[in-house]
Symmetry: C2
């Protein structure tokens, strides 16, 4: 607790309000009233309580602060400016093109660990950070500031539950209960007891305070960390607090003040406003930084050509192998680890494994907080698509492995089949999308993902497929393998995963009938090996056939056509063209026209 | 309450267990132990409590039953067979290709209103049905059977919250607390008090029972509907109950019994097993069916060419206009109705509007339950992607409107920009994806969506664009408009939404420089008007340029290339090729290369 009196803290809070108003009025857009309700809490946290080095926002043992209600960005920016990180004049560049002070915080800013603005996601990331602190033996605390409206998001309760289960007493949530949502009052207004009951039921300690009373705020912060449970501070506040003619009035969400209104508001706040600059901030403890070096190399693999191994099994083996070499790797599961095969890692490294239970949104958020590796069925990652989208904006170092893709899972039926995941994951900013067809390529691509920073998605299949590569084959991201090629080939077939196996079988059949085809393993769907495919296509009269265990929209076929049609390559697509049913895997591959027989038939119709 | 004693109900429960074991053993896959834990509850519901006509599963006033823990499908199928809907011999066709009895229930079956199997989604659909019952003045009740593991899903708590807020005492949830998840024990085992506290905190009445004691089950069911709150029955059960050598043992999730194990299990169950066939089921009340006729026509629109109207505003006007003509239309919002403009409908028809607050997953689930119309920012529908995927599998009649698409929203920044939504929505089985560029086409496409059954997604933009169509122009789904075309045109530009406006501006500029271009409004992204685009392209040397306010993956460009590259059409793409920043809308369109100037520049480089 800093040596600073509450009158000064109140003054700083009003200075933060003034900055928020000025910036949003200058920008002509933004959320000043959402900033005003939380200003006292933020002032108390930054200048009276949190332990961090304002000149070094990335210091490993800084207390973490996540602005889950990301639209209050101007408040966050103002706090860091007043803490001395950058000149307060910069604040007026809010929302301008070329300024890092965007409408909602992104990690282009050194003090924003995750992009916020899609509500309800901050707490999961906080859970990841709190778990990470334990793993790394660091005593930093993680503070997550949420809005009351955003507590309607199920993702908040997924995170709350896991925090309670893991007794994360190094995690503190603050809910800015300002009563007013965007288009109307929230469901519960200022009835804090409803939030209290909910958080208590989820295993949290709760404190209810007047969010504008700096004495109450500082008192409750002094008791942070006591007891075994995570703490939520429920702060009753007024939206637009500090501005007499706006506070607690409907219709002011997301509205900047006019020049004239801003002048009136600032006239009310200025007399008590105080600068935060120069006030000492409590420094973090100088604990040793966690090891952060990649291992010199990963252990080798040892598969036999022709062995039948499902790529999901190879994933499990790879995760374990990598985990043995690299102690920074942690794994997350959504109660599918016996199916995805992450359980091998879970058994060997229980301290580095987190069971997230059946809550995929939270799992992805926790992964972002950890910058970790998460796996479940590919289709269930659609549950977490907003979290994945935000992880993309956050440039998080998250590896996502989705198993049970396509109709080839068989009898479980469409609810368990990933048929949209290539489309989903290709559209994520900066993502890498990988789709190995055998055990060797799976393991090698896991090595690649481990070494690559950013969001990577790897697709694994349920059925066993033959090992077709030697153990020393390399699989660079963005590459492809030309597996069959002869002069006079009539068409280039581009496949991946189970359809690669089918394409190779078709190649044999067609060869015996005098029709040569080129077969390419497009294990890297994004980035796509466009030059390899183009070169092969040009030798086959610019004719390409893509085959994928996925819907036709947005997947491998669209990727190839989207990149190469401009070069005159003609791309025909085989994919799952209708909503599929339960059945045996081989039956379904045939029924939905992506097995060896269908490939051969299609090729004959084209050449 | 039926006139049936608990001993008979127990017998029927054991018969349902026998069916579940036989079917999954015959299939070689499935979840018999998950069926066994819930069999007593299901027997009591179907044969001792619910009011429905087993020969007429679609009767409008049947009690609804949603198997949210969809992997217990064999149990559901057995219940309907024993209720007399189809011969019990059919049950052995579980999971066979060609059988409607798939691995998880889909609405190909008349008694499954929604596809389940992706856990945590059933309660939201139940909320929609319960709300619908009130709106339609019907007294049916909605029962949702969930697993304990699936209560980790945030979607359950979103639904629970809205049910509590709306005091849906016609909604009954049953949680089958069998302690064991898929890969390990759940977080709370048999500690029912944790679930009790949570549901109470969310506004529910709770009852705790022994889920294998038919007296307790029937007693608690007798009190359904009392009081103002929704009711949750927490049933303590054993996974695999009834099979002495399996029940309550780990490692049995999703495992069929071997032939030999099945014989042993059935030997234990057979002595007390009783058929349900012939036992009378309580019929539903013969209340009048709600009106279900489409209006003869929709009211006309009246825009002036050249007026500046944002398509989001036109959406709001259209929703109101349609709502006035068609009383079946209901609207849902996620606290963005003042931005999406659904608030006009909300003000006029409050009884037909449901504020779902900041909980998009639930909103989509409720929409499925209602078969309704839901709107929020397009990017926030990524939060509900699994629900949308499942609505696709369910062939639900849901209209989804996503606003604030692309960089053209401006200063709010990337967390609020829909840049992946075309990819997302194209990949949904059976979806229609529409993207109007002006107010008239927006309104007309709303009419089209209202008349079309199935999942439809409409993309609206934040900025104002000029009205370019006459009020009597028609916009069939699957169509496109050729807006500029002259002999000698050098390239065909395919655009939609804000980029249509930009393309038209570019056309003027280029025309004055002696370069003619064809401009097509591809307002129907899926299904795509491939023939129109192809015909135009063939007149421009097979050269096409697509322009979209969306990432390059999976959107308009991929759609055109994916469909037409096989015909030799060369497709060049303009899109948002990097993670965008905050800025003014015009600045961002320019910076990310999709404004009129960028279009003209790209064309000159190509021709």
């Amino acid at each position: 607790m800093n040596d600073i009196d509450t009158e000064t803290l109140k003054g700083i809070a009003n200075q933060l309000r003034i900055h928020s108003i000025n910036a949003t009025t200058a920008a002509g857009s933004g959320h000043p009233t959402s900033c005003c309700s939380a200003a006292d809490v933020v002032a108390a946290l930054f200048f009276g309580h949190m332990r961090f080095d304002p000149k070094n926002p990335h210091f490993h043992n800084n207390d973490r602060f996540i602005l889950s209600k990301g639209h209050a960005a101007p408040l966050l920016y103002a706090a860091w400016a007043e803490a001395g990180l950058f000149p307060t004049e910069e604040l007026l560049k809010l929302r301008q093109l070329g300024s890092d002070l965007e409408g909602h915080p992104t990690p282009r800013l050194p003090f924003a660990d995750v992009a916020t603005g899609s509500l309800g996601q901050g707490l999961a990331v906080g859970v990841g950070m709190a778990l990470c602190a334990r793993l790394d033996n660091l005593d930093y605390r993680t503070y997550v500031l949420m809005g009351d409206g955003e507590c309607a998001e199920g993702a908040v309760w997924e995170a709350a539950s896991l925090a309670g289960i893991n007794q994360l007493n190094n995690l503190i949530a603050i809910v800015d209960v300002n009563r007013l949502g965007q288009s109307q009052e929230t469901a519960f207004g200022h009835n804090l007891s409803i939030y209290k009951k909910r958080f208590e039921a989820f295993g949290w300690r709760t404190e209810e305070i007047d969010g504008h009373d700096l004495d109450e705020i500082t008192e409750v912060l002094a008791a942070v960390g006591l007891g075994a449970q995570p703490l939520v501070i429920l702060a009753k506040t007024l939206k637009g607090a500090g501005i007499s003619f706006i506070q607690d009035k409907e219709g002011w969400h997301g509205k900047p003040l006019s020049q004239e209104e801003a002048a009136r508001a600032i006239a009310e706040l200025q007399p008590t406003a105080k600068s935060g600059i120069g006030h000492p901030i409590q420094p973090p403890h100088q604990s040793p930084a966690p090891k952060n070096e990649a291992p010199a190399s990963y252990p080798p693999i040892n598969y036999k050509l022709g062995d039948l191994v499902a790529t999901r099994e190879a994933f499990g083996a790879a995760l374990l192998r990598l985990g043995e070499a690299d102690t920074r790797i942690v794994a997350l599961d959504g109660d599918t680890k016996n199916s995805t095969y992450s359980e091998k890692f879970f058994k060997k490294f229980p301290n580095r494994s987190t069971e997230c239970f059946i809550a995929e949104q939270n799992m992805v958020g926790v992964a972002t907080g950890f910058s970790a590796r998460a796996s479940t069925f590919a289709c269930f990652f659609s549950r977490a698509y907003d979290q994945i989208r935000v992880a993309g904006i956050s440039m998080a170092n998250v590896k996502i492995v989705g198993s049970h893709v396509g109709v080839s899972i068989g009898e479980d039926g469409p609810s368990q089949m990933g048929l949209e995941d290539l489309a989903m994951m290709r559209a994520i900013a900066g993502s890498v999308v990988l789709y190995p067809g055998d055990a060797v390529s799976t393991e090698k691509l896991m090595d690649q993902m481990a070494a690559k920073k950013g969001i990577c998605f790897l697709r694994t299949s349920r059925p066993k497929t033959p090992v077709i590569y030697n153990n020393d084959e390399q699989f660079p991201i963005g590459g492809a393998k030309v597996l069959r090629q002869s002069p006079g080939d009539k068409i280039t077939v581009v496949a991946a995963g189970v359809t690669l196996n089918e394409a190779l079988k078709a190649a044999e059949t067609l060869k015996s009938e005098g029709i040569g085809i080129t077969v390419i393993d497009a294990y890297s769907v994004k980035p796509l090996a466009r030059d390899v495919i183009k070169a092969a296509a040009q030798k086959t009269n610019n004719l390409v056939l893509t085959v994928e265990d996925h819907y036709p929209e947005g997947g491998l076929g669209d990727a190839v056509a989207g990149e190469l049609s401009a070069d005159g390559v003609k791309v025909h697509k085989l994919a799952v063209f209708e909503l599929p049913h339960s059945g045996k895997p081989e039956e379904l591959l045939a029924k939905y026209g992506i097995d060896a027989s269908a490939i051969a038939k299609k090729i004959k119709s084209l050449v």
